[in-house]
Each structure stands twice: as C-alpha cells, then as structure tokens.
C-alpha cells in the first residue's frame, strides 16, 4: 500500500520536525492516519484481528519513534489496538452466541486444557476479554510457564477458529474492519469534542466571584472558562503568560473577547498572586498512569505555589491525553529542549564569548515541559468526569489493553 506508506512517512516527518502543535491535533491526525491504515489493510480470511493489529502496531512504532515525547501518538495507537481487540471480541461473542455454545462449560474446559491446540469460541472470548483489563492473577498464572506458546491472544484463537469455521470468515472479516473503522471514527469524534464534555462540568467547579489562575494557553481551559461564563457565572481570571511561548497572551485576549475579566501577569508573579486565587485551572500535555502530569513548562511552580496556599490545582485533560505508562525521571526523559533563541537573540552574547574563549561558557536551557507530581494535583477533570490522581491508573485501564502497553518489541504476539 504505497499511498498509506506515503501518508505515514509524511506524518512521521511532521512529527520529527515538531510541526504539529498540541496534543489534540496530534491525536486527531494520528487517529485519522491509523484509520486509513486500517481501511487499506488487506484482511486475510483467517486471523483478521491479528493482521490489523500488526499493521497498526507497525505504523504506531514508527510514529512513536518519530516523537517519543508526544505521548498522544502512543495513546492513540494503543487506543486503536484496543478498539480492534474489543471489536474482535464482540464479534467472537456474537458468533459464539449464535452457535449456542455454553460459555460456562467451555470456560471450565478452557482452564483444564489451556494449551490445547484447538480452542472453542468461548475460550477465544475469554482470552480476548482478559486482554481488555489489566492482567488478572489467573491469566498471569496461565501465562507464566510458557508465555510464548500459550495461545491466549485472540489472534491464535482466531487462527484455530478459522480452521474450524471458515465459512463464517468472509463476512466476519469485512464486518470486523467495518466495525473497527466505525469505532476509530468515534474516537476521532471524541477527540475533537472532548473539550465540550469537559466544559459541561465547568459550572460544578467554578463559583460566583471566584478568581481563577491559569498559565499558558489551552483550548480546553478556554472552553471550560467560557462555559462557566455562559452559565452566568461571573469570575475573574489571572493568566500567567507562560514564557517562553507566551501563549497566555493569546488566551487572555480570547477570554477578554468573550467577556471574562482577565488580567495578564508575568510568570514570576504567580507566587505573589496565588494568595488571592481561589482555583488554578490548567491544561496538560499528558497525564501519566500514576496521576502525574506532563504539562507546559512552569506549571510545577504554579502547583507548588498552589499547594503552599491550599489552592485547588485542577487539570483539564481529554481522554486522549491519558497515557498508560508510568513516568521515570520525567523532567528529563519526557522533556524536550527548545531553541535558545527564544531566550537570547542569536549573537547577543557573541561579543563577550570571544574574549572568554575557553574560560567561561554559556549554556541556555529552555525546556518545553514540566512534570507535576500527583501529590500536587487536586483534581483531574476529563470528559468522563472528575477524578482523583490516585484513580487515574484505573481510568486509564478502561481505555487500553494490557497487551498494548508496550507497542514495540512483542514479537511473539500475533503469528
């Protein structure tokens, strides 16, 4: 499929050059790309789900490698894989129900002969279901002795199933692809409208005459605040400008245009002003599974100041920002250094550098992201509602399959 490959390469280039700004745009474009990958993927008669998964995974690997810091790409790849598994499962259960097999009895059988080469549809369903949630103790125990050989994934199950009932295959394969594309479409829809669902909850959180502080710019925050404003709440907003990108200026302008009383402050004045603030509402770049947040640079400072003054620190995040990974040394490993020219003009210090050849040196550090540890976050507001940081791992588990947490390096899965 050369056309798909061209699309993929194009997108990879854009990611590498950091041409795509914002996790929402990235997520949306990733989902659209994966949708075309799926629709172009030729589905064999047997083992359709595995074929799709392999195709998506191969593309996803490239995308993630192109910009490992943009976690939304990986999130969407995993979401798509999850969708494929889910659709396959629902088709399998439907087929099984049509055959009138007893689920309970087959489950029993399955446990007794777990490495039997030929499995029933129910066994497939059970195995597939197990991939939807974090691995249970049972599956862990089953997997432990011979993880490579155990046919617990849907792919091997589908394989065996294909041998037994190949008549059913043709229609089911088309149906699977169709369903997956439908579901991906829904995902794209969700991504583009997630801020609406988040904004609906604004009135529950913003009270009359409150003072809200935010930093930088986020469309979600803009919509959230405006939704509260539309519901006749009157409140004030402080916007920290968010150096070095100064997106706060843009946000302030938009907020003021929408009739909110807005005050722009410098980032350095955050600590000074936070004592008069009732709530900090900010957007995030990504939410990690431990409840930590990868956020625009400067937010850790805001979060610390908010904690000092016991001001609630609220993160707004669409579900595409929920990342199933746990961070390790995120300040460095999940960060990116931007151009020094945002801080100092090119050549601004060249005159004094010449005289100090060798002796002195000048480094410019201009990171993009901050890591806000979960203990500093009071609340996450996602499109499914408000959540505690400690609950994020569970919320995230709903969106991803445990099998997909590592997109790369699972050569044994899929045949």
């Amino acid at each position: 499929m050369p056309d798909v490959q061209a699309l993929v390469n194009d997108f990879v280039n854009q990611l590498k050059k950091r041409k795509i700004e914002g996790s929402q745009a990235t997520a949306k474009q990733t989902a659209e790309l994966l949708r075309s990958v799926i629709s172009q993927q030729r589905v064999p008669h047997t083992n359709q789900a595995a074929a799709l998964i392999n195709a998506v995974r191969a593309v996803g690997e490239q995308l993630i490698a192109a910009n490992p810091v943009e976690l939304a790409v990986g999130n969407i790849v995993r979401r798509t894989l999850h969708i494929i598994r889910e659709e396959d499962l629902s088709l399998a259960t439907a087929a099984m129900a049509g055959l009138g097999l007893s689920v309970a009895s087959d489950d029993e059988d399955d446990m007794e002969r777990s490495d039997h080469p030929v499995l029933s549809a129910a066994a497939v369903a059970a195995a597939a279901r197990s991939t939807l949630r974090p691995p249970s103790l049972q599956t862990l125990l089953e997997d432990m002795p011979d993880s490579a050989a155990v046919p617990h994934t849907s792919s091997s199950g589908g394989d065996s199933e294909g041998k037994s009932r190949s008549v059913d295959k043709g229609s089911r394969g088309r149906k699977l692809k169709h369903d997956v594309i439908e579901a991906v479409n829904e995902l794209i829809q969700d991504i583009s409208t997630c801020y609406e669902q988040i904004a609906e909850q604004a009135v529950e959180h913003i009270h009359q005459n409150e003072v809200i502080l935010t930093l930088g710019s986020s469309k979600t925050v803009l919509e959230f605040l405006c939704a509260a404003k539309d519901k006749k709440r009157s409140f004030k907003v402080f916007v920290a400008e968010g150096a070095p990108r100064y997106q706060g200026h843009l946000l302030a302008k938009d907020l003021a245009a929408r009739g909110l009383q807005t005050t722009v402050i410098t980032d350095s004045a955050v600590f000074a002003m936070i004592s008069r603030v009732n709530m900090v509402i900010v957007g995030a770049h990504a939410v990690m599974a431990n409840g930590g947040v990868i956020a625009p640079v400067g937010l850790n400072m805001v979060a610390l100041a908010a904690q000092r003054h016991a001001v609630p620190f609220v993160i707004l995040a669409g579900s595409h920002k929920l990342c199933p990974l746990y961070p390790h040394n995120p300040e460095v490993l999940l960060n990116e250094l931007r151009s020094p020219s945002e801080l100092l003009d090119f050549g601004e210090f060249s005159d004094c550098m010449d005289s100090a050849s060798g002796a002195g040196s000048l480094h410019i550090v201009n990171p993009t992201f901050d890591y806000v540890p979960p203990k500093l976050v009071s609340l996450f507001i996602t499109d499914t509602g408000g959540h505690n940081p400690s609950y994020m791992y569970r919320l995230i588990a709903d969106y991803y399959s445990a099998d997909d947490l590592v997109v790369k390096g699972r050569p044994t899965t899929g045949s």
Binding site: Y246, Q261, T263, S268, V270, M273, M301, A356, V365, N366
Partner: protein, 676 residues
C-alpha cells in the same frame, strides 16, 4: 471557602507608594490647565512659557506625539463629562476659572486629610499606550489638584491599597498634598490664567500660597540643569473612553512629572536628576538607588542655605521631606531608601544646636558619606566575605535576576579560584539576569541562563541558591524582586539551601504576609510586548480591550520558611533573627552614630572566620576588647528579656542552631576585630 482567599476589599490609602490603583471616585473634579509648549519639544531646557488665557489654550499647535490623545473626560464642578479627546476636542476643557476653582476648593475640603490623596493624571493612567514618545513635550504644566477621597473608592477585590486611577476621568495629580499644592499655586504668579484663579482664592489656596512662598529655589535652576536626557521615555496612550472596571497602572510616570516640572522649583537639581534616573530606569537596584539618593541629598545639603528666621533643623527636615516626596513621584521608595531617609532625618534632628550652619552641613555630609561607606559598600564586602565561605568547589549556584551583592560574591569566589558553575534564572519583564549574565561571562565564569519557568528542570543540579533582597521584614519575609519567592519555593521543594544576601540597613520593622498588600506596580505596557519576539503580539492594543488588564508587580514577599540563611553584614543568621538585627541596626543608625567614626571594618582575615566558638557571654569579652573598636556600647545589649547572645558558628549548622527562638546574633565582626 477559606476566608483568607476570599477577595478583599480593604483599602488603605495611606500606603500610597504601593501602587494598586482602584477605580476612582467618579465625582472628582478635574481642572485641566494645560499650558502651551515651547516649539521644540525635545529641548533639554524647558522654560515655562507664559500662559494664555484659557480660551485658546488648546488651540496651540502641539506636536502630535505630545498630546494625550485619548478621550479624557473633564469634570466641571465635580461632575464628570465623559468622552471626547483631550488632544482634539478643546471645547471639553473648561476655562480654568471659577467653576473649576470652586470645585477644587470644595473638593479639597471634602477630601480632607493630607497625604491620602489618590491622585494621578491622565498621563499616569496612560503609560505609553499611544506610542507618543515626546514626553518632554507634555502640555500640561498647570495641574489641577484634585483629591480623591480614598475611602470612597469602590472596593476592588485585588486592591488593598488604592491609588485611584481612571484614565477617563479628569486630570488628577498625585502628590503630597501640601507640597504639590504649594508649588502649583506658586505658578500662579507667573501666568495669566492662574491669576484669574487667584481671584477665586480659597482658604486652601491661601494656605498653599504661604507654603509656596516659603520655597526658595526657582524652577529655572532645576530646568537649566537637569531637564534633558532621561525624559524622553514617557509615552502617551489614548485614554479609554469607556471606563474599565479597574486597571492596574503604573504609579508614576514621566509625563506627569514633566507636567509638574514647572512646579517643582523647590527640588534641588541633583535630586531632580536622581528622580529622573529612577523614573527612566537608569538606576535600579535598591543599593544603587539608595546611594544615588543620598548623594543627591549631599549635594542638596551642600547648596542649602538656612532661610532667615528659620532654624536649620526644621527647615532642612521639611526640605528633605519635599525632596522625598518628589522622589516618590518618580518611583515609590524602596524600603532601603526609607531607612536611609530615616537615618538622615534623625541625624538632622540630633544636630547640636550649638553648631553653626556650615558645621552642621559638614557634619551631615560626613554622616551621609559614612552611611554610604559603612552601611552599603563595606557591608557588601563583609557579606561577600561571609558568603564566599559557603561556596565550594564543584558547586552549582543558582541566582535570580540581578543582585549587586550576589554579583560581587560570585566574582569574588571566582577570583579566589573556586570552581563552580552559575545558573542565572531570569524572568520578564525586567530581564536583569541578562545584565548579570553578561558581566559574569565576560569575567570567564561558566554560566547557564534560563527563564523562571524552567526552574523545576534546572533545580536538580543546583547545590546552592543565592538571592538578593530589596528588604527583609522583621517576620523574616524577604521582600525582593518579583519571582524571588518562586525561586525560593522551588529550591525549598528540592531541598536546596537558599541563602539571601542582604545588607543590614535594608532590614525593616514592618511585617508582611503576602505580596499584595504592599507592592509597587510597574508599567503594564512592558508585559504586552516581549522583547525580541515580534511574533508575540497578541496583546497589541490591549488598552482598548474591555475586560483585559495587565498587572506588573515589581516585588514579592518570600515566606521565611523558604529561606535557609540570611547573609548580612552582622554575619549569617536564620530568618528568625531578623528582628534582632533590625533592632540592632536601628539603634546603630539612630543613637550611637559616633561609635564607628574612627573604626573601619577589618575584613581581610577571612581565614580566622572559621573558628568555631561555643556560645559565650559577650559581656566580658566586650570588656576585653574595650580598647579596640567596640561595636556597640553595653547599653545596646537589650533583647527584651535576655542579654545572652549566642556566638554564631560559622558552619552549615549555624542556621539550625539559631532557629529555636533564642536570640542569636553573629558577633563575628567583633571577633574579627579582636583577632586583629
């Protein structure tokens, strides 16, 4: 809801130097009294032209940039006429005659009180938004003095100290009531329309006139010397026709001063120069500002002559007060400057009556000289001496903005051959870290430069944080350039020691818990423009956007629990010891002024500083060193209930020792003298 965080509506107009501007009382009367300009708006020498009768005042051709071009409403007899443009609609300006005069007088008494006036002019309210650059040509020589009774200012949630500002209201002027009024009215003698005003002389004006007559210096002298140079940075902006709910505005502006130029005849040129340098930002940093002010006062005292039938003590004090109020016009005083003024006034008050005029002046001159040398220059050297012991090879030092003491410290440590890296954190809008960065890089230090948002990223590698301070308040709060609190907070959260270098003369007995109640406002315009980033122009024209305000705080207050140690000329102390030092310093400055007259700080024996001495009673030791320079007489040793002093250990644990509430002082200076 936590009541602490609920919006506050307390307004204390007495703390005017802070600069939150509250919405104005709309019933203020304005009496614009513009004067025509000399044709050359950039002339360094401004000579007050004769004023014409009011009808054609506004028909004088003005340079376009010089015009306060926005709509400004003028109130006649206390009522506000909204709309119209100052520059173009001359009909809005009333003849500065009877109605306005009467409103002036009436409002004066309504306003009551002195020093409470929240006054500012259109130019104050409109710092540079219109892009007009020729501030020197501001056509507003004659100023109407209106008083906004501050207590009537509508409460605003953020405004705890109110300075009324509304660009759409008439021209108001903030000034200390008496001085401004006096000098303003003095101008009446020169001008035609003010003579007309004189016909309506009220009680207030008569009183003001008396004060004006007392003023000796002619305005022309000041003009001739000092008008040029710094005065071109003021801008005009269109005032908003629609009254915004509240704008945070710069407290004082050049155009305002320019307008007052003709009235400030009592200001000595040296003071005028210093004031303009504050205003233009050429002198910044509390030490530099304090030195500039004191030197200006030295010049002023040198040229001072006691008027007949006056006593030096009283008249000079009043004189200094008027200078101070002028300086406040230019920029609110820093706390260190306030302390220096307090020192000077005490010295004046304590002048023996037997001294002749010239002797008194010589005495004051040397007092000021000594203050500068001992309290600032030598104190910095002592601080560097102390603090450099905290720098070890391999350290990564972080500093924020530009602090003269920290700069000296870093350079000194570099000269000593210590191997360390410096991380300079900077923040908008002042970006003074760049100045420090340049100075350090030129000297060959290895530096890392970053902006304040990246603190969490960079703090991992930092081993020490050195900060400067504008003042240290007696609850241990460090009052310093905005952003300092953020740096200290993040360092604290990363368990990095925070050392604050601050001279003892900056200590103040005030207490403050947050940064809002008392602060200085910078020019909001600088926030909207990002230096060197033309792509960030979203806020262009923000002044015309309803609901949008820019707030530019100058200082913030760092809670004392973020501070590990304060390095001062008395030694290294924990924040809990600040009130003790403050008390020492106060007594030092006021009562025992002679004790250091022959003494000098010996700071050359740094090696001995490391002697770890157990806490001792200092009483006997003081006797031992009685023949040397005793820092303070024994009578000074009063710390409330205890006279016991702990000798400070010069180790990292020194701070920990002092934190427990016992009075802890550093006596290392005595120690040093003893060692000599």
């Amino acid at each position: 809801m936590d009541t602490r965080r609920t919006p506050r509506a307390v307004i204390d107009p007495k703390v005017r130097k802070v600069g939150f501007f509250a919405p104005p009382e709309p019933s203020q009367s304005g009496l614009p009294d513009p004067i025509p300009l000399p044709s050359s708006s950039l002339s360094p020498v401004m000579i007050p032209p004769p004023r014409h009768s009011s009808e054609n005042l506004l028909h004088h051709a003005r340079p376009p940039a010089s015009v306060v071009s926005g709509a400004s409403s003028v109130s006649i007899e206390g009522s506000v006429v909204a709309g119209g443009s100052y520059g173009s609609s001359s009909e809005l300006f009333p003849a500065p005659m009877s109605p306005a005069s009467s409103s002036y007088s009436s409002s004066r008494f309504v306003g009551g009180g002195d020093g409470d006036y929240c006054l500012n002019g259109v130019a104050v309210a409109s710092p540079g938004r219109g892009g007009g650059k020729a501030a020197a040509s501001f056509p507003r020589g004659g100023f109407e003095l209106t008083e906004a009774k501050a207590s009537s200012v509508p409460a605003s949630e953020l405004t705890t100290v109110s300075v009324v500002n509304d660009s759409s209201l008439g021209i108001r002027e903030r000034d200390k009531a008496d001085n401004g009024r006096g000098s303003a009215l003095e101008m009446k003698d020169q001008t035609a329309n003010s003579k007309q005003k004189k016909d309506k002389t009220t009680k207030a004006e008569r009183r003001a006139l008396q004060e004006a007559q007392r003023a000796a210096k002619a305005a022309a002298k000041a003009e001739g010397n000092k008008a040029s140079g710094n005065v071109t940075s003021g801008n005009a902006k269109p005032a908003k026709a629609t009254k915004p709910p509240q704008k945070y505005e710069h407290g004082s502006l050049l155009p305002d001063l320019e307008a007052k130029f003709f009235q400030l005849d009592t200001v000595h040129p040296a003071v005028y120069k210093a004031g303009l340098q504050y205003l233009s930002g050429n002198i910044y940093g509390s030490n530099a500002r304090c030195i500039a002010m004191l030197q200006a006062f030295q010049d002023a005292i040198r040229d001072y002559r006691v008027p007949p039938e006056k006593t030096l003590v009283r008249d000079l004090t009043a004189k200094i007060s008027s200078y101070v109020s002028f300086l406040i016009e230019c920029r609110p005083l820093s706390i260190s400057m306030g302390n220096a003024i307090k020192f000077l006034k005490t010295r004046i008050a304590k002048l023996p009556l037997t001294l002749s005029e010239s002797e008194s002046k010589a005495s004051l001159h040397s007092d000021i000289e000594r203050f500068i040398n001992e309290k600032i220059i030598l104190a910095d050297k002592v601080i560097v001496k102390h603090a450099v012991t905290k720098i070890r090879d391999g350290d990564v030092l972080l500093t924020y903005g530009l602090s003269s003491a920290v700069e000296m410290l870093l350079l000194h440590a570099h000269d000593l051959g210590k191997q360390f890296r410096v991380i300079i954190v900077d923040s908008r809008p002042q970006l003074r870290g760049k100045i420090l960065l340049r100075r350090l890089v030129e000297k060959g230090l290895s530096c890392t430069y970053t902006q304040i948002n990246a603190l969490s990223y960079i703090m991992h590698e930092v081993t020490r944080v050195f900060l400067g301070a504008s003042s240290i308040l007696s609850n241990g709060t460090v009052y310093s350039g905005v952003g300092t609190a953020c740096v200290a907070m993040i360092a604290h959260s990363f368990r990095v020691p925070v050392l604050v270098c601050c001279e003892a003369y900056k200590f103040n007995e005030r207490v403050q818990l947050d940064s809002i109640c008392s602060n200085e406002l910078g020019d909001p315009e600088v926030i909207s423009k990002v230096l060197g980033r033309e792509d960030v122009n979203y806020l262009d024209g923000w002044a015309n956007t309803e609901n949008l305000q820019l707030l530019n705080l100058v200082y913030d207050a760092t809670p004392s629990d973020y501070i590990s140690m304060i390095v001062t000329d008395y030694g290294m102390v924990p924040p809990t010891s600040v009130p003790v030092i403050e008390k020492e310093e106060e007594e030092d400055l006021t009562s025992h002024h002679h004790r250091r007259q022959t003494g000098t700080h010996k700071t050359g024996n740094g090696g001995d500083d490391r002697v770890l001495a157990p806490p001792v009673e200092d009483e006997e030791e003081d006797d031992v060193v009685a023949t040397k320079q005793r820092r303070r007489p024994r009578s000074d040793f009063s710390y409330g209930c205890t006279k016991k002093k702990t000798r400070w250990l010069d180790g990292d644990d020194a701070v920990a020792l002092g934190g427990g509430g016992t009075v802890a002082m550093s006596w290392r200076e005595e120690e040093r003298k003893k060692d000599d």
